[in-house]
């Protein structure tokens, strides 16, 4: 009798990319829900545009490149990219912002490098950074959390903003504001103290009204991801550790004019970045030691950009800057192999 041959191991694999991506999507759910609760349906519109564009772009690129479409589409990585990009964009961005962003993420940052697994830079963050430098005006218009919205602002106003007809300037001004991070930075620049700044309405207990809950929801999702072993603790904790250490240092050194470490941890994209963005396996360091270093470096750089740089939020730039150093980090943090010194 004759038999088929193939090579060991013969045991069926226990894991798949699709499963990992699915866990990421599930872990993002609390954050998404909180975002929608706090900032309204603009978030949802962003998500729909980003994810759809990402998936369509992914399929077209696969077709163009003559690669099988179904297995790569069903790995869900394009969906994750789209969702993460959507969550990073301002809630009132006009519709073409998520559209262009998603296109850049999938086509330029991902498929020009060969698609899944080959891109050296985090696609969603590249898209975010390019949008930020290209359309700074549209990229800095954030909606107020629902608790601060004036009575007269309607969902339809948000819609019309997103789809291009400007409602009256007064409504725009009433609905929008700089993010807490942005506000903090701008006002500190005007020599106000942290206390004075934080007494304004957009600030809440930890960081910003609404923002702190969103961050907490991401933290929850992140812990779930660690529990499911989709990500290891090294990157997120490294990042939060780095951010915490440097902000504590300056907080103790110059209290009053430096926001507290907790403010830094719970505002902007710190939590989202730590658990979902910096952890993108494709673009992160791969060795355990390397991952911790990678996380810490992102944390430090985030603080530096937030505090002294030109952009109010540094996560995106910090992530892609440290992405560049990943091959070097990996090179210098190889684990000791069994039986070697």
């Amino acid at each position: 009798m004759h038999f088929l041959t193939s090579n060991a191991p013969f045991i069926a694999p226990q894991n798949s990319i699709q499963k990992m991506m699915l866990w990421v999507l599930i872990a993002l759910a609390p954050g998404v829900i909180t975002m929608i609760w706090q900032f309204g349906f603009g978030v949802l519109i962003n998500i729909i545009i980003c994810v759809t564009t990402c998936v369509v772009a992914e399929a077209s690129m696969l077709k163009l490149r003559n690669r099988p479409i179904l297995p790569f589409l069903s790995d869900l990585s394009a969906v994750v990219t789209g969702l993460l990009l959507a969550l990073a964009l301002p809630t009132l961005a006009p519709w073409w912002i998520p559209f262009i962003g998603a296109f850049i993420a999938i086509v330029i940052a991902k498929h020009l490098y060969g698609g899944l697994g080959y891109n050296p830079f985090n696609p969603a963050m590249i898209a975010f950074a390019i949008l930020m430098v290209s359309f700074p005006k549209s990229m800095t218009v954030w909606m107020l959390p629902h608790s601060l919205l004036p009575e007269n602002a309607q969902f339809s106003d948000a819609l019309s903003l997103i789809f291009g007809q400007s409602p009256s300037q007064s409504i725009i001004d009433a609905m929008t504001a700089a993010t807490p991070l942005d506000e903090m930075k701008t006002q500190l620049g005007l020599s106000l103290t942290v206390e004075e700044i934080q007494s304004r309405s957009i600030f809440g207990g930890l960081s910003g009204q609404g923002w702190q809950w969103v961050s907490a929801a991401y933290l929850l999702g992140g812990i779930f991801l660690m529990y499911k072993k989709v990500i290891s603790w090294h990157i997120p904790l490294g990042l939060l550790f780095g951010l915490f250490i440097i902000s504590t240092g300056f907080y103790l050194f110059e209290p009053g004019v430096t926001p507290s470490p907790l403010f830094h941890l719970f505002s902007g994209g710190a939590m989202l970045g730590a658990f979902f963005i910096a952890t993108d396996p494709v673009t992160a360091a791969t060795t355990l030691k390397g991952r911790f270093i990678y996380g810490v470096l992102i944390g430090l750089l985030t603080y530096i950009i937030r505090t002294w740089g030109g952009y109010p939020e540094g996560i995106a730039f910090a992530v892609i800057l440290i992405n560049m150093a990943v091959p070097l980090i990996d090179h210098y943090t190889q684990p000791r192999v069994y039986g070697h010194k």
């Binding site: 041959t5 191991p9 694999p13 297995p71 069994y338 039986g339």
Partner: protein
């Protein structure tokens, strides 16, 4: 006893031992034809001692060791040597290799053995000779000649610990377990022989903690034997805890330095089956002609452990297990993690064979559908050797083999852990096997080209020297000629030259 933990591994691999482990070892019948590949151990192939038509008896040496690292082969039953020629061998290459075929006569006549009731009377070197002559090689997988491993005095190595590998960490396989359940006293006696030989202070018998009843029976046997140097230890069930290096790390916390052997850190480790074979060879004087093998999988009707004569074609074993089921898809020699698939069932069992897995479609996947590596690092977390499989893969895939080698490719034990956990379903181990073999070929080529360069340069030098000498000679001659222009000499030279020129033409006709 304190235990250590090696990196990674697979703690939750489905075991599939129950299919075969609950039945006592049966003895397989004598097959009509026994086939002995001459190279069934690490080292040089054996040299045949018989020729076609010779009659042989069970236990008779039919091929002798050749060179230092090699082992003799003995006939498993009486019969007639029918041919010594190429035969399909159990090897992933699917190659054929020189083998001795014996047609059995069904009488199963044996030679007379020389038993040694009290091994303590014998010196280490006498015991080493007995083991070598018995053709014993490691039965745990690598088939390394056991006599060399146990001959530690020879190299003035100080051995402190003897480790008996009863881990049997691969799924499906249960032959060591059955052996320990049924013949614990024989194994213990074998351990005593080894202790006597290598003068180790202690012997540790390691058994995975998923077989408590076996552990109990072995502890009873140890208690009865009452030798304080021997202990049995339960180790956590984590694949590949049975790997020699992992087992050493688990039991002692020590690591075998890369490129060295356990003996260099005072440890000798052997499989329990090997010990059993040693006991038989010393006490009963019987050479290694049979071993215990697990035949299992959904592809056979009655999975089983069998005591099988080495050289028996797989087909015979399947018959003992009541034949194939309709699910039989793949024939695997060894376990599902490290075994290899065979083309057909005429291939014989060799000394290193511990398992025949007749797998169904569900039990053994066909080629994996690989996605790109997403650098998730799960492979590195699973690697018991702390390699970076993902980087090794990038380099082997892109033919940057030297870089893979620099990342310690050759420390990979091919356990398959990385492969199983990879979410991208990349056949990592296959890449590593490819890279290792390609590197070996490259190094061989490099060696050849170095030799060629040396020879070329030597030749160039010689030619240059010859030329210089010739020039020197003709210069001298010319000078001599000038001083004494003898006509006849010139004539002679001319005719000599003519003759020389003609020679080839003559030959041509």
């Amino acid at each position: 006893m304190r235990l250590w933990r090696f990196n990674g591994g697979l703690p939750s691999l489905a075991e599939h031992k129950n299919e075969s482990v609950n039945f006592p070892i049966e003895t397989a019948p004598v097959p009509p034809l026994l086939v002995y590949p001459l190279g069934q151990h690490i080292g040089n192939a054996a040299k045949p001692l018989v020729s076609t038509g010779d009659k042989v008896l069970r236990g008779q040496k039919i091929a002798d060791a050749q060179g230092l690292i090699s082992a003799p082969i003995h006939a498993g039953s009486s019969g007639v040597v029918t041919n010594i020629a190429d035969h399909l061998i159990p090897h992933p290459s699917g190659f054929s290799a020189p083998s001795i075929s014996i047609e059995t006569d069904g009488l199963d006549e044996e030679i007379t053995y020389v038993p040694h009731d009290d091994f303590r009377q014998l010196s280490t070197s006498e015991l080493v000779d007995i083991i070598r002559e018995a053709g014993i090689v490691g039965l745990g997988g690598a088939a390394f000649p056991t006599a060399i491993k146990l001959n530690t005095q020879n190299k003035a190595l100080h051995i402190d610990t003897l480790i008996l590998n009863g881990a049997e960490c691969e799924p499906y396989i249960s032959c060591d377990d059955r052996l320990l359940k049924e013949r614990p006293h024989l194994v213990i006696e074998g351990i005593e022989i080894l202790l006597h030989m290598i003068r180790a202070k202690r012997a540790i018998l390691a058994i995975e903690d998923n077989v408590p009843d076996t552990f109990k029976s072995i502890q009873d046997a140890i208690a009865k034997n009452n030798n304080p140097a021997i202990t049995a230890v339960q180790i956590p069930t984590i694949y590949p805890t049975g790997g020699e290096k992992q087992l050493i790390q688990t039991l002692t916390g020590k690591e075998v330095p890369s490129g060295e052997i356990p003996a260099d850190i005072g440890i000798v480790s052997t499989n329990v089956g090997t010990v059993h074979a040693v006991q038989r060879a010393v006490i009963e004087g019987k050479p290694l002609t049979s071993r215990i093998i697990t035949v299992t999988g959904e592809g056979v009707k009655k999975p089983h452990n069998l005591e099988v004569r080495i050289g028996t074609p797989i087909q015979t074993l399947i018959d003992v297990c009541h034949g194939y089921t309709k699910h039989a898809e793949r024939l695997i020699m060894g376990g599902p993690m490290m075994g290899f698939a065979l083309l057909n069932d005429e291939i014989p069992i060799v000394k290193a064979t511990n398992c025949i897995l007749v797998a169904s479609k569900e039990e053994a996947i066909t080629e994996k559908q690989a996605m790109p590596c997403i650098r998730c690092g799960l492979c590195a977390s699973a690697c018991p050797v702390s390699l970076l499989p993902q980087q090794l893969y990038w380099f082997s895939k892109s033919e940057q083999l030297e870089k893979a080698e620099a990342l310690n490719l050759f420390d990979c034990i091919e356990c398959g852990c990385c492969d199983v956990v990879c979410p991208s379903h990349i056949p990592l181990v296959q890449h590593f096997r490819y890279a290792k073999s390609a590197l070996k070929v490259q190094n061989h080529d490099k060696h050849l080209s170095d030799v060629a360069r040396d020879r070329f340069e030597a030749r160039e030098e010689r030619i240059a020297r010859d030329k210089a000498e010739r020039a020197e000679r003709s210069r001298k001659k010319k000078a001599a000629l000038k001083s004494k222009p003898a006509k006849e000499e010139i004539d002679a030279a001319v005719s000599r030259a003519k003759a020389k020129k003609q020679k080839p033409t003559e030959n041509e006709t």
